[in-house]
Symmetry: C2
Subunit: 419 residues, 2 copies
């Protein structure tokens, strides 16, 4: 049987130990192939009910009294992420704000902790919002922002980081999984290299948390942030999480002093006194309804288990690449992700000079949802928790048929506001 035979996908699905988890999510529209779980995770079946209960019972009827239930949500969901998603201890992860605000808080705290050093190190494959935060901090503080040039298809190498590190570096910050290529950076090796010169590390786990193991403990990683609306299925724009290694917490201070980070929050005293532990990294009132969604998503991910998700993620993306090699390379596509499954997260990206129009046509005419990333990349994210091998076969078969039909050529080359 050829790899490209649909029966192969069906056989793989029958053997998939995570297959039953697809029933734990709202069924998609019939015929839709969703390959963008790396951008917005699907809706867990329990979430709508939990949210309705939170809205009507907790807010509507419990009113202000429900704060007794809500006041520790940031900490308790953080602990669930630490235990079920990351390799971290209770009290090392907390949910708050957006990923970018958290990145700002932790980067500023790290720079304050290394006041005699003048360099913030990152790479040009980091997510743009991360890069913008660093540009802002470097400009405000007169620091050097040192930017490693990374191969956008193969990802950041530990050797390149090592070459760029010196004792002027206060903080080195990178994405664990690259948002374009899905390339995995070696979190353990790079953290060690930074520590060798006395620098702190700040990892963005947005594209890794919930899809691959995140070895924070093995690495002795210092700081991290991550997103809950991708692989953690927390809902659109759901609050992000941050991690600070326990022994660093007492010595670090973030710059946005607010009442949720105050030791005696309702004492309403005049003088700010940073709360012990991770609570000092909180700022204002968290968006409770969006937090409820995070809790549901994290629970289903944790139940499936990161090791099982990783195994399936490797198998799914390898299968996708096999199909792309057979069907799409002859049509002008080229792999823009590492070919080695060990170096790749749970999404795969393909170059094509017409990627933008192909992306639009695929969504509108073929009911397949990938996304586009500049300048010429089609990103395919078969999230392991919710995607079948048959979805991958179907998505790539339709993509092949689209290209053969030339239907994308009637689409405008002008990009829309959201890609």
């Amino acid at each position: 049987m050829a790899t490209t035979d649909r029966a192969v996908a069906e056989e793989l699905d029958r053997a998939d130990p995570l297959a039953a988890y697809r029933e734990r999510f709202l069924a998609p529209e019939p015929g839709l192939v969703y390959l963008d779980g790396n951008s917005l995770g699907r809706l867990p079946a329990t979430t709508a009910g939990r949210l309705a209960e939170a809205v009507t019972e907790q807010w509507g009827r419990g009113l202000i009294r429900s704060w007794e239930h809500w006041i520790e949500l940031s900490q308790s969901i953080g602990d669930e992420i630490a235990a079920g998603v990351l390799e971290a201890e209770p009290g090392e992860v907390i949910v708050s704000d957006s990923t970018t605000v958290n990145l700002y808080k932790l980067a500023a705290a790290a720079l304050d902790a290394r006041p005699d050093r003048r360099v913030l190190l990152t790479d040009d494959d980091n997510f743009p919002s991360d890069s913008y935060v660093f540009q802002g901090l470097a400009a405000a503080r007169g620091l050097e922002l040192r930017v490693i040039e990374t191969d956008l298809d193969e990802g950041l190498s530990a050797a390149a980081v090592r070459a760029a590190l010196d004792e002027d570096v206060a903080l080195a910050s990178f994405s664990h999984v690259a948002y374009r290529s899905g390339a995995i950076a070696d979190l353990v090796d790079i953290t060690g290299a930074a520590h060798d010169v006395g620098a702190l590390t700040l990892w963005d786990l947005s594209h890794s948390g919930g899809s691959i193991p995140v070895p924070l403990r093995s690495a002795g990683a210092d700081l991290a942030v991550g997103c809950t609306y991708k692989y953690l299925c927390g809902g659109p724009g759901a609050p992000a999480y941050l991690y600070v290694r326990r022994d660093l917490q007492a010595q670090m201070r973030q710059p946005i002093w607010g009442w949720f980070g105050q030791r005696d929050q309702f004492g309403m005293v005049g003088r700010y006194d940073a709360a012990p532990g991770l609570t000092r990294f909180l700022v204002g009132t968290p968006p409770v309804l969006s937090m409820i969604g995070v809790r549901e998503g994290v629970r289903v991910v944790a139940e499936a288990g990161i090791e099982a998700l990783r195994a399936k993620g490797q198998a799914l993306t390898s299968y996708l690449i096999d199909l792309a090699d057979a069907w799409l390379t002859p049509l002008g596509f080229r792999l823009a992700s590492p070919r080695d499954a060990c170096r790749r997260g749970s999404h795969v990206t393909l170059h094509h000079p017409d990627a933008w129009r192909i992306c639009r046509a695929l969504i509108e005419r073929y009911d397949v949802v990938p996304d586009f990333r500049t300048p010429d990349r089609l990103r395919l994210g078969p999230a392991p928790l919710t995607t079948s091998y048959a979805d991958v076969w179907e998505g790539l078969d339709r993509l092949r048929r689209l290209i053969e039909s030339g239907a994308h050529e009637s689409y405008p080359t002008q990009r829309s506001r959201v890609t």
Copy 2:
């Protein structure tokens, strides 16, 4: 008929032009008297349905494609707040982050805009989280935080601000309505005084927006932030809003540079280029589900109209004070809010040495929900949109009966985590 006669309340309710709005909110538990709408506004009847639709249809079925609807929510809800809640223009208000994060962004932007000035001016009656933000900024930048001593019952006076202002002041920031007493600061006069010395102003509208007119335009106010989960009924921890006067927007830069504040967000270019207008004050992905709640709350407030809400707020709080004078003053209570209705927002605070235990007993034994504020204050917030005169009568009658029974004396004096 005596003021304290319940029939007076019933008569006032019959004449209340906003009476029908109570049907626009989820009915409370039978017997509950909710006097904490200034802390967490009640649930609009439409919100649960809109949220369920957003969860199931937009997130669950629309998935990533729904970002076409969500991408402008911050701006469009901001415009609804500008038009229906504040005295501001389209493009001057935007929804994002928490009140405290917004305060940090705007205060930092203001200090950057007055780099030759060394003083940040506030008062000791400002909300603690605001004060913490200013302490953090002053510490980070080596600025003087100048704190006016305010009478906590009568509120900030324009004369005291004028006396504290000089040409060293970069930014003067106060609450429009004091969180403890409900005292209104003279936004127009104080803004003018600050402008006279070349300082910028930053108003916290959390306890005024949605309950009293906010004369930003008349004042020529510079900057403001506000909360959506109190009088705007947006839901627990719903995202906050910020205001920047149009002519200031182009010259101001906030410190947290993120992709939602970038000119070409999905261009994913390497260099941060602040978006035009208010969009540059955004940072990361907004919590969409919580935003949906804000939109519903703002719409019902705007439909009722701020002038009508103000009229009823004055009448309700005056009625409450009349009952307190008759029933509670003899029992050891003392008014901790301005007696003049023109100087008072929509909540009233009473001193009592046993306020904490009274608050707990009132909630647990008498089904009346006020809140406690340190050190000895019982805060009663009869939000005009959702509270009847009969609610006020009932709440104060039960409070009187509680004190007479002495039931609160069996409660612990130790305060709980959330007050």
